[in-house]
Symmetry: C2
């Protein structure tokens, strides 16, 4: 086990540090040290090859389908990270020889990953290697690599082989047709390739420079062209004490770049753009380019940093780690793309967007970068047609959002088949794409949350109302009349807890559907009254006049699960009849999913056990519907039956625990969320970081400890820090007004950086915060 | 450098032995220890993973084209060789810990590959590993693996992960759509996949069994299904001294199997065939199946072995090594498939057939297994339509054979672009598919050679005449009239020496074309006279009446390059005007292609340097046209200018040197041919063994030292053994009559195992060999 912890020195809480190397666990660090800028994502595979590595380079939105029986996925572009390093004819590897020193770190402040190695080869040579890399936050098409090798003892004959390698696949599926491979102007490598089905042209360029003790080498490198591979080979002889430095700068351009959107471009345009970009980069060199990226990171942190003073520096590190990944996982200005469940850090979930976006990730953007949140919701607006098609194909009306979403026109992209059932050995059908339907209400909810937090009426008129109204129409068409009980029901769904398939009246689903329909009715009423033009347009599009009575009837007749005599809300019909087993062994698990070794899906359905928060998410999202005592009782009942096998689980528990005054438990769940990627489980991040958990860390801190919540009319602030925390300072944008909120154990400070007064309920008291002022409030009792 | 040499013990000359392990050079042993049976070919990748390994499994004839801008190639099927071995949670690797003992061998007699390893882990455990495997020569769909691990010091917690892995590609191109993945009857793994363009369905099955000290394990293995991957995971705890044995049997079936040819089958048929086959295999277990394969090998060797008694056992080993590979590289009963240039041992040349087949490989089969030779020539007959189409597309008539040939209907499959020019950095156009045209004459030549050696008149009437006649028509249409010199010429071709593109009147091409047309004229005359029905059919098809005068005119007018005043035949027009450089540094090269580091293609064209025998192949094939003195002079002139950068070069030199009485040199070239794959160049076999070199080793021995040659009327035998050889015994089939010929330094023995008397010219004397007798002849002088 390797610990991922703080670095050293004054920036210790900015640096995620890996102090030991173990080639069994490459995936962990490849994912959590991944770099990007929302446009592209670069997994942190090491330069030299190791068995089990996964080299990934993704560009947002470049989805492709390999074959008719697969779904679209984000294709893995040709690799730029690999450098074959031959030392005296033998491949450099940290598994060969004696590793005298090793350190790798991700500097969250600058976005740079640095590896420092000292190695004694089995042949008795000693060398130092330093590898640095960044993906530019400023110049989104550019990446830089810098590799230094110093001969510490003995002379070294080095050969470096580096370039562009298009032999990579997505777990075996090759998404690209080979295009052009050539050396331009004697030094720029170019590889062009085109996705096989979606026809996205990708042009990659790379340029290398070599210096031995600061001097250019006498011999130019030698190009090596192979199938899907364009490399250069550079030989150098190092005398003891000398250092060879290779700088490699790369650019990535595609025909799907936002800059080209709607334009009629040719592959030549993209190639020219790439060449211009790499030529410009070559003059700036690594340091010049990196300076620009570092400055962009500094500006971002100026706005976005959350400062924690606590007994453990890990708390601070974890928050910054989450913010780092939240800020590189989306292209904030491109409404054609969503958030991948693994960000751009791995092949897991194929780059698809789930409800993770709206419920776990979006709040961070809504409350700190509302323009990015608007872009993400616009993505959902632009995929409405697919949602309408899906509803129609399933026999419903309105908008039924895909459970998994990719490119705008892809529609539902959930794969139909998954892993094997341990008893029958047969692949199991994946039902989520068909019956995990709550996502339509989740998106509607997020739209309204965005509206309440931002007051962005233009967005609502243009897109937001349409989403809420059409998802409500879906819910109205989706319900089933139960003659016996004289109620409408939602039968055969999957709720948030994915252990349970085909359940009836999942509480979360029914309440969220009711919320969605109720909100739609209010919108219909309000629009008709106050925005007749908008009403008219939407009425034409969605037949609101006809929908309104239908929605009313459904809403009145819809069954909403009620607490039993002990005050416990059933997760779905018949939940209390399910078997109760001792979950202690699985709750104590080191890695998720241990229960699958003993129970298959069929058996799991018969047990009161949840993969993740289900009923509790309902309490979190629709908190005003349920009294505190009911929440408390249910929290204890359901948490005891939850394995937190989903990365979406712990943050919800952290917020609820905090709300319920279970402060130590809340802190434990905050740490638990942070440890999903930064913790000791060496395998769980292999397929990429957990994007929702990053949003969850923010929610645990800001919603939970910061006690931030919005109500229909105002901001509510009721913080409570964990015992070991001394202060928490975070930015917030509410109704377009930027705030800095600093919370202490016994008081808080709100700095109003905007220009309009704001109402807030602070620890139960209504306060007005004047622009340009700092409001200090002492906690009572 | 690792030496590949003879094994130990009584079977030493049957065993190719690798005595040391170096993970830099995996490809060498993966290729030369490859196993197969003509239906399938299995590269000898190690069980555990190493950086740089290439896992290959090919089934003959299953060609697929990945994309429109690629050519068809033999796709790499899902891998069966890989076993992940975890020892106390860490991957077993010979690069980790102390390798106390290592030995790997390919037993040519039995077809089994065995690896024996003793390793001390860095954690201080000691273990022995023995891995055995075979591809059944008897049951062509079946493969077997057997892995034993013994705890020598300390207890071991083992985990083995094994199954079917479809994530492999051909250098990045994925040829398969995923199909079914499932576990049948609790133990049979099945993976079905379909090639993306050609629609070939492949069904792979695997079954595992585990025994600890002979006893079944208490816990069944655990299936692990992932994308394109179906594995089982088995844990076992070994006490010190205990041995765990895993047996893995696999079957491979495809919709292109000969058994299904012409039938309307469904994937279900193939899956059922596979399941039946693997179920049957499971009962026999490794040993039972292997016994059947070993017996088939014994029968093959009984017929095919060539015995050498010489000072160096390597001579014997090299010959058996060649015979082994010759016998697993083709499916002898399937006329729909040719011979891949790398056999079924690697991705090099994409499984395509070249002139290597007819000129270098076919003679072995023609003279030892004529039915296999007939099948290979039938393959050319079945591709005639493509040859006709190619001629038409290029503006010619007749049959212009593809330079590279794949599936029957694929036509020309030479890729258009190759590696980069070192000066311009741009990919170079591959001209062979367009202008390396001698292959059409080479195929015609091989047809006639087969006919002369076998007397198979039925083949000629049905197929052979048509090939010779229609290639002759191509040559007639291909010539250009030179008004000034009043002659027909072949301009802008590539001869055997591929350094030289776009040459005029390449001697080899012109003479072979003349031979082809001359033979056609004789056939036209003979058929018209003696086989009027055949003539009528072919006349209708090929307009022979019209072709005859045309052929005559061409043949009379065709320019045949003549020796200069020094008696040297120019390789092509203007050859003697080219520059002469000092080739010594390149002749002394360790690896082929060293001249490319200093000269690009354009420069090479200006120098008197050849990649391989060119003029000399002409002397070899059409020996009766040239006097001995001319051959001798030309041998010295051209050999001095040849780098032998092609694996087709040395064997021709060996035969010619032997003919010319240069016996030491001939022996050196024999060894040189053997060392193309068995020698110290650790990289040259990476993409697969050199199929033509295997045929060349046979030619060097049987044509060269054995002095076998056929003339129009009889067999000629004029052996001369190298000084260090005491005897050479080889089988030969001539005119359907099986012979065993044993050659000594001063005499020979011919055992006639057939039923008809044979005429032979032995050391210049005409002799008759009576059936059932042994003829002994002393060498004169």
């Amino acid at each position: 086990m390797i610990r991922y912890d703080r670095g050293q020195g004054p920036d210790a809480n900015w640096i995620v540090s890996e102090g030991a190397f173990d080639s069994r666990f490459l995936g962990k660090c490849e994912a959590i040290f991944a770099q990007g800028n929302g446009y592209l994502g670069q997994r942190a595979a090491l330069e030299e090859d190791y068995v089990g590595q996964i080299r990934n380079l993704f560009v947002t939105g470049t989805f492709n389908r390999f074959a008719d029986n697969e779904v679209t996925e984000l294709p893995n572009l040709p690799d730029l990270t690999r450098v074959r390093i031959l030392v005296d004819g033998r491949p450099f590897s940290m598994d060969r020889g004696r590793l005298l020193a090793y350190h790798r770190s991700l500097n969250l402040k600058t976005g740079e990953v640095v590896r420092e190695v000292e190695l004694e080869t089995p042949e008795g040579k000693r060398l130092a290697l330093e590898a640095r890399r960044f993906v530019s936050l400023k110049d989104e098409h550019l990446l830089g690599f810098r590799l230094s090798i110093t001969a510490l003892a003995g002379n070294l004959d080095l050969r470096l082989e580096s370039g562009i390698n298009g032999q990579v696949t997505n777990t075996g599926s090759q998404h690209f047709q080979e295009g052009d491979k050539r050396l331009l102007k004697g030094r720029f490598l170019r590889m062009t390739s085109t996705t096989t089905q979606s026809g996205v042209v990708c042009a990659l360029h790379a340029v290398h420079s070599f210096r031995l003790d600061g001097q250019p080498l006498p011999d130019a490198p030698h190009p090596v062209i192979d199938r899907r591979s364009l490399l250069i080979q550079q030989d150098a002889r190092l005398q003891e004490g000398q250092t060879l430095v290779m700088e490699k700068l790369c650019s990535v351009h595609t025909s799907r770049d936002l800059a080209w959107h709607g334009q009629d471009i040719s592959p030549a345009d993209i190639e020219e753009g790439g060449l211009a970009s790499i030529s410009w980069a070559a003059d700036l060199r690594y340091e010049g380019l990196f300076d620009r990226s570092r400055a962009a990171w500094a500006r971002l942190w100026d706005n976005q940093d959350i400062e924690v003073v606590s007994d453990s520096g890990f708390d601070q590190l974890a928050l910054r780690f989450a913010l780092y990944h939240l800020n590189i996982m989306i292209k904030k200005d491109d409404p054609r793309v969503g958030v991948a469940a693994k960000g751009l850090t791995g092949e897991g979930y194929k780059g698809h967007s789930f409800w993770d976006t709206e419920i776990f990730i979006l709040p961070y953007f809504t409350f700190t970068q509302p323009e990015a949140a608007r872009s993400l919701l616009t993505y959902r607006y632009l995929t409405l047609q697919g949602a309408r098609d899906k509803a129609r194909e399933n026999g419903y009306t309105g908008a039924m959002y895909p459970w998994e979403s990719a490119w705008l026109t892809d529609g539902e992209v959930t794969p139909l088949w998954g892993a094997a059932d341990i008893e029958t050995g047969e692949p199991m059908k994946i039902w989520t794409g068909i019956i995990e339907q709550h996502i339509s209400a989740d998106i509607a909810y997020a739209v309204w949350q965005y509206y309440e937090a931002t007051g962005d009426a233009a967005f609502m008129a243009e897109m937001g109302y349409e989403i809420i109204l059409d998802t409500a129409r879906f819910w109205a068409s989706r319900a089933t009349w139960n003659e016996e009980k004289a109620q409408f029901e939602y039968l055969g769904v999957i709720g948030p807890d994915e252990y349970k398939e085909h359940v009836d009246n999942n509480a979360f689903t029914n309440y969220m559907a009711a919320w969605n329909m109720k909100k739609a009715l209010r919108i219909i009423r309000d629009l008709r009254q106050h925005q007749p033009d908008t009403y008219k347009r939407l009425n034409q599009l969605l037949s609101l006049d006809a929908a309104e009575p239908q929605l009313k009837k459904m809403l009145e007749g819809l069954y909403l699960p009620q607490p039993n005599q002990e005050g416990i809300l059933p997760q779905f019909d018949g939940y209390f009849d399910l078997e109760t087993i001792d979950l202690a062994p699985y709750k104590a698990q080191a890695d998720v999913g241990s229960i699958y070794r003993d129970y298959n899906n069929t058996r799991l359905r018969q047990i009161q056990v949840a993969k993740q928060a289900d009923v509790l998410v309902l309490f979190f999202l629709l908190e005003e519907l349920f009294p505190q005592a009911l929440k408390e009782r249910n929290y204890h009942y359901h948490e005891a039956r939850t394995l937190h096998d989903s990365s979406l689980s712990k943050s919800t528990h952290a917020v609820l625990a905090s709300d319920l005054g279970l402060h130590d438990i809340a802190y434990d769940f905050f740490l638990g969320s942070a440890r999903i990627d930064l913790g000791p489980s060496m395998r769980s991040s292999d397929m990429g970081i957990h994007a929702a958990a990053m949003g969850g860390i923010w929610q645990a801190a800001v919603y939970g400890f910061g006690g931030i919540r919005q109500t229909a009319s105002h901001l509510r602030i009721a913080p409570h820090l964990p015992a070991s925390w001394h202060s928490l300072r975070f930015p917030l944008v509410y109704q377009g007004q930027p705030l800095k909120i600093q919370v202490f154990q016994d008081r808080l400070r709100i700095q109003h950086l905007g220009d309009k007064p704001l109402q807030a309920e602070i620890w139960g008291q209504q306060r007005e915060i004047a622009p340009g002022t700092v409001l200090e409030v002492e906690k009572e009792g």
